[in-house]
């Protein structure tokens, strides 16, 4: 990829030198292997060029060369922090295409597992974001709690990060009562620990100075750039796929879509913290109303989807994921398209970073909650 090395945009600052600074691909301040070429004027950023493609694995092409079940483990490896949402999206898309039934118990367990995954993703974001801002304690604090979620999920899915637990028509195995009680126990304990998070960070003045009015996204821009998830909601637009196009029985649960009007890093922070609490509420309701019954309906072993196309939107921890499948009636998809949230969310970074301090750009990048393999996919 040929990119202009010369800055195409300059701020009028007299008597200071301009230079290019490579942020990444392995800088601790960038997440994953994102590389950003920053054209700097002293401490100020003239232009930021994210360089993508280091993690490109041709996910869409791979899926087109796989049968529907074979593509399942690949999909989960796009977003390693919210793998279950991806898992869910692929499964739901194929189920919609082939019109498979899903038992209610399986739907409830899917919701529980996905929401646990969402909390663990937000916790890691919380830690990493504050690590970007220079605080080390929060990171360990968040990982301690995240560890418990990983343990719970490992028990039902068998893996700790790239979960692949949902199958077409339901789940491969049921969860037992004891696991559900332990999830409830975790929620209770975690609720007790949440105030600590706010004590440690939310009320902290240094944190406020670093995040308030930094990286403001106006609602107009947020919609225009196709942002989604907590970033869109942090700019005051109330949109959540779980609420507006409910899937997997989300319409049965009572939860709110947290919104913040400020559009700055603090706003996005507040939205995610509120989302953790909403997720806890959803899990509680799902466990409270979980029906008995089978967890997998009858689906053919060899899946041949009828010819046609399907688009399925799912709310991942980072925003709206859309999986679009075109089928020609064979056992492999003809065309697959993933619309991933991080890619759209990263697109606004160049605009936001312009004219900012380097340290603020790191705060902005942290607040966007990128997962780079998902951007490149």
């Amino acid at each position: 990829m040929n990119r202009p090395i010369q800055p195409t945009y300059t701020l009028d600052k007299v008597g200071e030198e301009n230079f290019a600074l490579n942020l990444g691909p392995q800088h601790p301040g960038t997440h994953g292997v994102l590389r950003v070429v920053l054209h700097m004027d002293g401490e100020y950023i003239l232009q930021a060029d994210p360089v993508l493609g280091y993690g490109h694995r041709m996910q869409e092409k791979i899926a087109e060369n796989m049968t529907y079940p074979q593509a399942l483990p690949y999909v989960c490896r796009m977003d390693y922090l919210g793998a279950l949402s991806y898992n869910l999206a692929w499964v739901l898309a194929v189920e919609k295409l082939c019109q498979f039934e899903v038992p209610e118990r399986a739907e409830a367990i899917r919701v529980i597992a996905t929401e646990l995954n969402r909390i663990s993703s937000h916790l890691l974001w919380w830690g990493a974001f504050l690590l970007d801002l220079g605080g080390f304690t929060p990171f360990l604090q968040a990982l301690t709690d995240r560890e418990q979620i990983l343990d719970l999920l490992e028990e039902i899915t068998g893996s700790r990060l790239t979960y692949c637990y949902f199958r077409f028509g339901g789940l491969p195995s049921d969860v037992d009562e004891e696991w559900l009680t332990r999830v409830l126990a975790f929620i209770k304990e975690f609720r007790d620990r949440l105030p600590r998070y706010h004590d440690l960070v939310t009320g902290n003045v240094i944190f406020h100075h670093r995040s308030k009015d930094v990286g403001v996204i106006l609602p107009f821009d947020a919609a225009g750039y196709g942002l989604s998830g907590p970033i869109l909601r942090g700019s005051g637009i109330e949109f959540d796929v779980r609420k507006h196009e409910p899937y997997s029985g989300y319409d049965r649960y009572d939860f709110e879509v947290p919104v913040d009007q400020n559009g700055d890093c603090l706003g996005r922070y507040n939205v995610r913290m509120a989302e953790i609490e909403q997720s806890l509420r959803i899990i509680e309701q799902a466990i409270g109303s979980i029906p008995d019954g089978p967890v997998r309906s009858k689906v053919p072993k060899l899946i041949k989807a009828p010819a046609g196309e399907v688009a399925m939107a799912v709310e991942t921890p980072r925003g709206q994921l859309v999986i679009y499948i075109v089928s020609d009636g064979s056992k492999k998809p003809y065309r697959v398209k993933y619309r991933v949230p991080s890619f759209a969310n990263l697109s606004i970074f160049a605009k936001m970073a312009r004219g900012q301090l380097l340290a603020d750009a790191l705060a902005i990048l942290g607040s966007l909650d990128m997962v780079i393999p998902e951007v490149d996919r």
Binding site: P69, L72, P73, T137, Q141, E155, G158, N204
Partner: protein, 152 residues
């Protein structure tokens, strides 16, 4: 006027720092959350997905695999090589070679699910390390199992 605001900020900041420090200090007196591996190991859940392994037939001690190759065909990474022969007088084939290219395996578990006779399972072996990748490029899963072809 300015000064008064400034002092207020400082006092407020000091208190917010104290709140944060209280959390940090509180953690000093809790038990560590880490486990000192390898002296102690975290408990493995039942559904732990390690690398796949071949199960033995209870009666004969031979591998359960009937060499139907559906695992090899269904593996997304195409990392299973399996061949089999019919032992003399038997109706079904028995695997005489079952190799797993663990460098490619994504531990997805599709092979375990698809096997018609339940011959595969996940091992509970996770402390695997080696200096060369060749150690994992062709893992012989039949090792340690009996074979009807050995003495032939």
């Amino acid at each position: 006027m300015m000064d008064c605001c400034y002092i207020k900020e400082v006092v407020k900041g000091f208190f917010s720092l104290c709140t944060g420090m209280r959390v940090t200090m509180g953690n000093v007196f809790t038990r560590p959350a880490t486990i000192q591996w390898p002296r102690k190991a975290a408990p493995l859940p039942d559904r732990f997905r390690g690398h796949i392994m071949m199960l033995a037939n209870d009666k004969t001690g031979f591998p359960k695999c009937i060499a139907c190759t559906s695992c090899a065909r269904n593996c997304p990474s195409r990392c299973i090589t399996v061949t089999g022969k019919k032992p003399e007088g038997a109706k079904k084939k028995v695997a005489d070679r079952f190799e797993l290219d663990f460098t490619k395996c994504s531990l997805c578990g599709l092979c375990v699910e698809i096997c018609p006779v339940g011959a595969l399972d996940f091992s509970r072996d996770y402390a695997m390390a080696s200096y060369t990748r060749n150690d994992f490029a062709a893992m012989d899963l039949l090792q340690g199992l009996g074979s009807p072809f050995k003495d032939a």
